[in-house]
């Protein structure tokens, strides 16, 4: 583009309403042609994806940080949902509480000792002393924690076998999930930020796998791979609605089956909650982007050295934006688990929870919040609809050709994997031909 335009926060990109309207039409089309319950299910996950994408955009779009560990932060949000909302299990606390408490004390003591040694000693002695403290501390923690976790895991293992939660409303966990993710991000950022982008990506990739490994194996915490089901819900259940007389009257007035109407109403209620969260986060992110802080972040992203020369503390700012972005992902992770009503650590897969979010940010437009949200909607929509579309395509392609029955069955089985191919292709095509995404970042000047 040859024209020079000055940045005007009031003036919106004309593409935004157009593309958003097209997205809304696509969802409506699903409602009309497939069913409204399907459309609402897609919408809910679109909203959650949009929030994750907003968090990733904060890190990548504002600050140029490559976080390949989005999955880990989303899973931490899920842990928060379990720990906040599940009913407490007093037997577990009686059996393992003291041991866990002592283990926590041992951790705190180890950390305190390390911090003390770091301050008092220097050079090689410091590293040795800190390493020795960590090793000794590790054995103390294991000494207290192992019997306690065994005791907890042996209490009613078929249904419980963990410490339970606090029994608080699950909506609270959305905030707690954000805090969990923020805490983890702070620790990770302290170690990994300030490295070159490739290194940060590898380090975050690793940390996400470790978070998942902990969640899967520490059964005393969230039952691990045994999954937590039956989480309390932020909205009434379908069954409860169907028992109310006003609801049945409404159903007969509209002429819809109560089962259908209750599903629509419950999913609609979730959608309203999610929209509210999205709007709040969107306002905050937009304000941040247009504030001096946002300008500083972009300055650091575009030229780290000159920003540092201007006296900006680059590593500190990176840590800040890394924590904020991860917190948003954590919120979305808690929302996802609330929507599912269950926490299944085995379902977290880096392609779906980390790299798909990346596709969303880059396709939507990195650095632009409206772009990131649109990317979240669009890519989730394509991801879901590509599966039936792939099957249909395979059916059409194989119907006229004389394949053996085995080959055809294999192709039909394999068709769902084609959506991974589609995602890769979309990412590469957008990067190549429209590197700024569907809704580009608004720049002060364009050359």
């Amino acid at each position: 583009m040859t024209t020079q335009e000055t940045r005007d926060p009031q003036k919106r990109d004309p593409r935004i309403p157009l593309l958003y309207a097209a997205m809304a039409l696509a969802l409506l089309a699903v409602g009309f042609f497939q069913s409204w319950t399907v459309a609402l299910a897609i919408l809910n996950l679109c909203l959650i994806s949009a929030i994750m994408s907003l968090g990733a955009n904060l890190q990548w779009g504002y600050a140029g940080l490559f976080n390949a560990g989005i999955m880990g932060f989303a899973a931490l949000g899920g842990v928060a949902a379990v720990l906040v909302a599940m009913p407490p299990i007093p037997e577990a606390w009686r059996a393992g509480g003291p041991g866990l408490g002592l283990a926590a004390l041992a951790i705190a003591a180890t950390v305190a000792a390390c911090l003390y040694l770091r301050r008092r000693l220097t050079g090689g002695a410091r590293n040795l002393a800190v390493a020795a403290t960590i090793i000794v501390g590790y054995f103390f923690v294991r000494y207290f924690a192992d019997p306690a976790t065994d005791a907890i895991e042996s209490i009613n293992p078929a249904a419980q076998g963990n410490i339970g939660g606090l029994g608080l409303p699950i909506l609270l966990s959305w905030i707690v999930g954000g805090l969990f993710a923020a805490g983890a991000a702070y620790l990770i950022g302290k170690v990994a930020l300030g490295l070159r982008s490739d290194y940060l990506a590898i380090a975050t990739l690793g940390i996400a796998e470790i978070i998942l490994a902990v969640i899967k194996n520490e059964a005393w915490l969230t039952r691990g791979v045994k999954n937590v089901t039956g989480l309390p819900r932020p909205v009434p259940a379908e069954i409860e609605l169907q028992r109310m007389s006003w609801f049945l009257d409404l159903a007969s007035q509209i002429g819809m089956s109560p089962a259908m109407l209750s599903t629509i109403m419950v999913r609609g209620a979730y959608a309203l909650l999610f929209v509210a969260v999205l709007i709040v986060l969107m306002i905050l992110c937009e304000r941040a982007l247009n504030s001096p802080w946002g300008r500083m972040m972009r300055a650091i992203r575009d030229n780290r050295d000159s920003a540092a020369a201007m006296g900006k503390d680059v590593t500190r700012r990176h840590l800040q934006v890394f924590v904020l972005g991860s917190a948003i992902v954590g919120i979305a992770g808690a929302m996802l688990v609330s929507l599912d009503g269950q926490f299944t650590p085995g379902s977290y897969n880096p392609l779906r929870f980390t790299f798909l979010i990346w596709v969303m940010v880059i396709v939507g437009g990195s650095g632009n919040n409206f772009g990131a949200v649109l990317g979240g909607f669009l890519i989730w929509f394509v991801w879901i609809q590509a599966e039936p579309a792939g099957l249909w395509l395979m059916q059409v392609l194989t119907s006229n050709i004389a394949f053996g029955p085995g080959v055809r069955a294999h192709l039909m089985d394999a068709a769902p994997h084609l959506r991974l191919f589609l995602m890769g292709a979309i990412l590469l095509v957008v990067m190549r031909f429209s590197p700024q995404g569907l809704i580009p970042e608004r720049r002060a000047r364009r050359a």
Binding site: A201, A203, G206, F355, I362
Partner: protein, 337 residues
């Protein structure tokens, strides 16, 4: 004396032999990653899935060969199929380079752009592998499975503890030594290898001396694809083939490359063994080992396992972080990150 021998046999059986095999697999993977880094200057996130893709081609060829009644005697048929897998993987990476990376190279894009492009290719390789072979666990080892069986070893030595030596473990080490020797000979002695090292050290200077960058890039990809296919096949023979496991190998492989000093071929080999032996020795339960050395009353009650095997990724990660903090350029002083 016999106690000590028994303890040593346990160590060999559960730590040294598996560690050597796993280390050789990681080393081959890391060598590919490090060479791509040295010449193309980015971390290839698609490397794990490239390994899976190459190994998949080998498995498909193996099945076809088994169908035709071809076998390699006591050795796995997969070794015969290996060249076909390598050719296929080379075709795939050259196509990827032509269609994806070349554009960014000509534009001199930032390394992170290459990394994101490799994420896109990761999706595509992943889809191809899953499309052709599915997501299930596949064992494709045939031929003689053991060189030394546990029972034979017991009968031979009269020791209480067995040492089993699987064919796949020996093949892994032998093939890895041969491949690494070939790669080093190529890098040190041939004209093209020297051109590659010169290009990696100083791109501008290499261009001035008339080195053809296209050729260097092409050969780097070919070597990386061959190494990835070999590493993937050996890993699949030794453990089993499951596409997702190859993605998970990415972390230990990156850790190996970085520990050794990224961009340093020799470092990648050393790093592979450092990571493999740390992983195996930290996640091994030493109870039986100690039972031969300690008197009854001193025996600890637990498994004497430092870390559960489920946390083996944590080991690679901790090594990675320690290296970053203590010696950011790796053991062999690789490229500045």
């Amino acid at each position: 004396m016999e106690n000590i021998l028994n303890a040593l046999v346990i160590l060999a059986n559960f730590i040294i032999v598996p560690g050597l095999a796993y280390g050789a697999q990681l080393a081959l993977g890391a060598l590919g990653v490090t060479m791509i880094y040295a010449v193309l200057r980015f971390s290839n996130f698609a490397h794990g899935d490239l390994m899976a893709f190459g190994a998949m081609l080998v498995i498909l060829t193996t099945w076809a060969m088994q169908g035709w009644g071809v076998s390699f005697g006591p050795l796995p048929t997969a070794l015969l199929a290996l060249p076909f897998g390598i050719i296929g993987a080379i075709g795939l990476v050259l196509l990827s380079d032509r269609m994806v990376y070349r554009f960014y190279r000509e534009k001199k894009s930032s390394p992170v752009t290459f990394v994101i492009a490799s994420v896109g290719l990761m999706f595509i390789y992943n889809a191809l592998t899953r499309f052709f072979i599915g997501t299930e666990d596949i064992r494709f080892e045939d031929g003689e499975r053991f060189i030394i069986r546990a029972a034979e070893f017991r009968a031979m030595t009269g020791l209480a503890e067995p040492l089993a030596l699987r064919t796949s473990q020996v093949i892994t080490v032998v093939v890895a030594v041969a491949v690494v020797a070939a790669v080093f000979w190529f890098l040190q002695k041939t004209r093209t290898g020297k051109a590659m090292r010169a290009y990696s050290d100083n791109e501008d200077l290499a261009l001035l001396s008339g080195i053809d960058p296209k050729r260097v890039v092409m050969i780097t990809w070919m070597i990386a694809a061959a190494l990835a296919t070999i590493a993937g096949t050996l890993y699949g023979l030794d453990k089993s083939f499951r596409p997702f496991n190859f993605f998970l190998l990415l972390l230990p492989i990156f850790a190996s490359a970085i520990v050794g000093g990224i961009g340093q071929p020799f470092g990648a080999i050393a790093g592979g063994f450092v990571v493999a032996f740390s992983e195996v020795s930290i996640t091994y339960a030493y109870r039986r080992f100690l039972s031969h050395l300690l008197p009854e009353e001193w025996m600890p009650s637990g498994l004497v396992q430092l870390l559960s095997t489920d946390y083996k990724f944590a080991v690679s990660f901790v090594i990675l972080v320690l290296v970053l903090l203590v010696r950011p350029n790796g053991i062999f002083k690789g490229r500045e990150i």
